[in-house]
């Protein structure tokens, strides 16, 4: 499974990278870690005529934590997130989700930008992006613009990115103290893409009720989606066992549940409910014995 032939360029700066991408419309691809693109090329599912290696472009691999939130440069690797001394405290949901990505060797090369641009419906980073209302900074010929995560992912392996654009960074809004959160994923083996996953958080209002819940489903549809029905049940209520069960029961409502060789749709829906319940229980800090 040798790669098809291609030209290779390794620009020193962003502008040159964009020019190179634009020079071969539809035939050039950006190469970051290569952990998603190269397997596709090995199967000849992708055969770009030009690979633009981004690794020498400066200032794309920073993790910046500020009052306005967390900014991850496109070339930040999973291992960088894992090893960052203060990121887990600044954004625990991000770090927990990323801890499930792939395997040790992949984590040394795979990047935030690469995962976002690849847009596998079961990938954790796009799921976090959608769950957290992230903003993705895109650079193109006309300069930079920002795309909301919910508008960025169009379908399986399909995004709003034009062929001559690059992701520069992703910004996650600030994470307040006291926020409740959980990440719950079900995969066949460690490191596999999730058959279903739930990334959620909510804050508590003055009365202790759930305020502005964000619940995103990963790996159940053609892209990560917010679970609006579950969010509606939760919003404004206290996170009790009954409310959690009710929220979990409607987990799949309004979502187009995908079917594939690993999971039929009805199983996936049921799985999503169970994961939602377990995630909410964990977020709420309840002790809820399961009936099996």
């Amino acid at each position: 499974m040798k790669f098809p032939g291609f030209d290779y360029a390794r620009p020193d700066n962003l502008g040159e990278a964009l020019t190179l991408l634009a020079s071969r419309p539809g035939e050039a691809k950006a190469l970051a870690g290569g952990q998603s693109l190269l397997p596709m090329m090995a199967f000849r599912l992708a055969a770009p005529r030009l690979l633009v290696d981004l690794s020498r472009i400066p200032n794309l691999n920073q993790v910046v934590i500020g009052d306005d939130g967390v900014r991850l440069g496109a070339l930040v690797r999973w291992v960088d997130i894992e090893r960052h001394p203060t990121l887990a405290a600044a954004h625990p949901l991000l770090v927990e989700a990323i801890s499930r990505v792939a395997h040790y060797q992949i984590r040394n090369r795979g990047t935030v930008g690469g995962s976002l641009a690849h847009a596998d419906p079961a990938a954790e980073m796009p799921g976090i992006a959608v769950a957290c209302d992230a903003a993705i900074t895109v650079a193109g010929a006309g300069g930079r613009h920002v795309v909301a995560a919910v508008d960025f992912f169009k379908g399986p392996l399909s995004t709003a990115l034009e062929s001559d654009e690059l992701i520069v960074d992703i910004r996650l809004p600030a994470w307040p103290a006291g926020r409740r959160w959980a990440f719950e994923e079900f995969s066949r083996r460690v490191g596999d893409f999730a058959l279903a996953g739930v990334a959620l958080f909510y804050d508590l209002d003055a009365s202790g009720a759930v305020h502005d819940p964000h619940i995103a489903a990963v790996g159940v549809s053609d892209r990560p989606v917010r679970m609006r029905a579950s969010e509606s049940v939760l919003a404004g209520s206290k996170a009790t066992v009954e409310v959690i069960r009710a929220a979990a029961a409607v987990a799949a409502q309004g979502i187009d549940i995908a079917e594939d060789i690993h999971a039929p749709a009805d199983y996936r829906s049921a799985l999503l409910s169970v994961l939602t319940e377990r995630a909410l229980v964990r977020a709420a800090g309840l002790a809820m014995p399961e009936e099996g």
């Binding site: 499974m1 098809p4 083996r189 199983y267 014995p289 399961e290 099996g292």
Partner: protein, 779 residues
């Protein structure tokens, strides 16, 4: 046993020790020579163009565009092979009629499975050859697929028109008054079971590297293994060459498990192309290709009935085996369904048995042997039914088994002739009850059983224990050749193949003990047709039993030859020469070292060498029991294996660490076969998951709690080592034990996991259906 007891004053005791492996030195330093590490000078690279259609008629192959690519040398099709396309013969299990379904080495008029070789592309590099593939126009008129044996049975679409049917063979075996037993039994139960298609997936893919020397008319093929002599015979016939003109060379092999080493289409195509083009040709299979084109296995459906007395005594078994053979019968013939039928019997007292076997052709990858072919399946079918019967009769499943488990007093125990191409089979030696007891004891069954069916932390716990008997040590013969080198080292050439099971170490242990020489004296060279005049290879756990026993015989002859040579030099009578501690010593005390004997012989141009052999038609029978403790999350279908124990009596463990490694490795492969490995086809007979991303193998995190206990209770009576083949016992009962443990865990739901694999969606669905049934009943 005589050779082993003839020890010198300081006897070696390497046999029975976990000696560190010789092989490891090169494997650990990256100095092994696996197929892709070997490249003859001037080699060109081949890639196989395979049909993407499951069933069709080839209309046209147009390679003009491919041939225009610089660096592409040739595109070989059936037209180049000639009017008569060689057909791959049967090696084993020649059930009547199977020879009408053999595979041509290259597709010519029809393709019958997606993945069937249609052409060979040759280029300067593998990458270029793959580029060329995309420029070949392959025109195939699509015919209806035959996606499973039900479709095959209907015979509406016939894969081999001249045969008129997709039913390759049907036969019935058995003994005793089966139908009477069922009519009069106090209890009968019938169930349907399914084992799914999966395969061995060794870490190294297949490879063939062929070099043709036109001047001498000789062919050298590297990366052969498993059954090199059979393959050479086959290749010679196909290429119209004398066997002596062909060398099949075995180098390092990255695992086999039954799948690697059989004669495949590429084993003809690559040498053929090498001869045709007059250039060495190197073909390294890629992983996608491997999953699609190397033998598949295990796809068997079974309807099984049991008749018992109320106290659980088994009166009879009656059943049907339906084998999905894929598109062609491969070298292993009918082994998979035939063995599945035979091993339904198991280590139990079955007074009457009748099994009907039907093997169907489908438009999928052909089927061959994968570790314990037919037994992984048969044990699942039978042991599941035993637990179901035990539950119906309200008898504890352990008690049920003990009631029926063959006792030592009954051995040898004949199970008649349950395989048409074999003679009567009898289980040889063993204490099946002792092994079962040991398993339960080691597993702490008595205290763990209190967890049976209990809901703990939201998961249901289940336990099961099963018994098995397993054959090994297939005959008929194995040969070795001992050569004394000029420095006193001893090279032992063996006909056995090495696929990772450590024969370079184990055989040296045997020879060292037999001759009273240091372990480091010996170098074991294996598998290649250049090494011995006739070899039989490695399959059905035969290497140690047959090859090891041949080494013992060779050692005997070697010791005698050394004494003769030493006596001649020392000018004494043979009777007065003693060979011990590496020297031949005469009565008067004069001595000559082995090294000196070797050096002298080499100088005289006549190195000292002897042959050894061991012949045996009786298989060996290992046996034992497995136990499992699982926790089932009924809401997601996830099963965690809390503890898995495999206990096996192997008669004699030459290297206990190697045997233990086989047991654990086989058990984990089996667990993968229960939960993960699955070759998934759609209704168009297209393989949907030909990649490691979607064909799932067990990882280090999946089954951390697997234990193995090796017993040496009863030596095998049929070889001087007393060894029973030990390569497959670890896998045979895994589906059986896990299936029963999951059923036990979910007793409260009343689900019967009778279909493999036990994936989360399958288990979830069984539970969901049970929940719905309960809800309906409650109304």
């Amino acid at each position: 046993m005589s050779a082993l007891s003839k020890r010198g004053p300081t006897p070696n005791t390497l046999v029975g020790q976990p000696v560190e492996r010789t092989e490891d030195l090169r494997f650990l330093t990256g100095k092994g020579t696996f197929a892709d590490d070997y490249e003859p000078a001037g080699a060109l690279h081949a890639v196989i163009l395979r049909s993407s259609v499951a069933h069709g008629r080839i209309r046209r192959i147009d390679a003009k565009a491919a041939l225009r690519i610089p660096g592409v040398h040739a595109v070989i099709t059936s037209a180049d092979v000639g009017h008569i396309i060689p057909v791959i013969p049967l090696r084993l299990a020649p059930l009547e009629g199977l020879d009408k379904y053999l595979q041509p080495v290259i597709a010519h008029d029809k393709v019958r499975y997606a993945g069937e070789p249609v052409a060979v592309v040759v280029a300067d590099s593998r990458a270029l050859a793959e580029d060329a593939l995309e420029h070949i126009e392959l025109d195939i008129d699509v015919l209806d697929p035959v996606a499973d044996w039900h479709v095959a049975e209907a015979d509406r679409t016939i894969l081999f028109e001249r045969n008129g049917t997709n039913l390759a063979v049907r036969y019935t075996v058995g003994f005793g008054e089966v139908d009477d037993a069922f009519t009069s039994a106090e209890y009968v139960r019938r169930e349907s079971f399914r084992a799914h298609r999966h395969t061995a997936a060794p870490m190294e893919t297949r490879a063939v590297i062929a070099e043709w020397d036109a001047g001498s008319g000789r062919l050298i093929v590297n990366a052969a293994t498993k059954v090199t002599f059979f393959n050479r015979r086959t290749l010679a016939r196909m290429m119209d060459l004398p066997e002596s003109a062909i060398d099949l060379i075995e180098i390092d092999v990255g695992g086999g498990f039954g799948v690697r080493g059989e004669f495949y289409p590429e084993d003809f195509l690559i040498p053929f192309v090498a001869r045709k083009l007059g250039r060495p040709i190197k073909w390294i299979e890629d992983r996608r290709e491997h999953l699609l084109a190397a033998n598949h296995s295990r796809e068997i459906d079974c309807e099984l009935e049991i008749a018992c007395k109320r106290d659980g005594t088994i009166l009879a078994l009656r059943g049907k085996i339906f084998g999905d053979m894929g598109a062609y019968i491969r070298t292993n013939g009918g082994v998979v369904p035939a063995k599945a039928a035979q091993f339904l019997h198991g280590p139990y007292r079955i007074p009457a048995i009748k099994i009907d076997v039907a093997a169907f052709m489908t438009s999928k990858t052909p089927v061959g042997t994968y570790r314990a072919p037919g037994r992984f399946e048969a044990n699942f079918f039978r042991e599941r039914l035993l637990d179901i019967a035990a539950r119906d009769l309200q008898i504890d499943p352990v008690t049920f088994r003990l009631r029926n488990l063959i006792t030592e007093a009954e051995l040898p125990y004949s199970i008649g002739r349950l395989v048409p191409y074999e003679t009567e089979t009898a289980f040889d030696t063993g204490d099946y009850h002792a092994a079962f007891d040991r398993c339960l004891d080691e597993f702490d069954w008595k205290s763990k059983i209190s967890m049976q069916g209990r809901l703990v932390d939201g998961r249901y716990q289940g336990l099961a224990a099963t018994c098995f008997v397993e054959s090994g040590g297939a005959g008929p013969r194995e040969n070795v050749r001992f050569v004394l080198e000029s420095d006193g080292a001893v090279t032992i050439y063996v006909g056995s193949s090495a696929l990772g099971q450590g024969i370079e170490t184990a055989f040296a242990q045997i020879a060292a003990d037999a001759l009273g020489l240091p372990f480091a004296t010996f170098r074991i060279l294996h598998g290649s047709t250049t090494f011995v005049r006739e070899g039989f290879g490695t399959y059905h756990s035969r290497a140690l039993v047959m090859g090891g026993s041949a080494v013992l015989d060779g050692a005997k002859h070697f010791a005698a030859a050394v004494r003769v040579a030493g006596a001649a030099y020392l000018k004494c009578e043979f009777e007065d020469a003693i060979f011990a501690e590496g020297h031949v010593t005469a009565k008067n005390g004069s001595a000559i070292s082995l090294a000196r004997i070797g050096s002298l012989a080499a100088s005289a141009g006549k190195p000292l060498q002897v042959e050894g052999t061991f012949a045996n038609t009786k298989r060996t029978f290992s046996y034992g029991a497995h136990a499992a403790h699982v926790a089932v999350d009924a809401r997601t279908g996830y099963v965690q294996v809390l503890d898995y124990l495999a206990v096996e009596d192997v008669g004699r463990a030459v290297n206990p660490a190697i045997v233990h490694g086989q047991a654990i490795g086989a058990a984990v492969q089996g667990l993968g076969g229960v939960f993960f490995d699955h070759l998934i086809y759609d209704a168009d007979a297209q393989l949907l998951n030909a990649s490691f991303a979607d064909y799932l193998l067990p990882l280090a995190t999946d089954f951390p709690n697997v234990r193995g206990v090796t017993l040496e209770l009863r030596p095998s009576p049929s070889n001087p080592l007393g060894a029973k083949g030990a390569g497959e016992g670890g896998i045979v009962s895994v589906a059986a034990t896990i299936g029963n443990a999951v059923a036990a865990a979910l007793t409260s739901f009343g689900v019967e996991p009778n279909e493999l694999p036990l994936t989360p969606p399958r288990i979830w669905r069984l539970v969901e259906e049970a929940r719905r049934r309960k809800a309906v009943a409650a109304r």
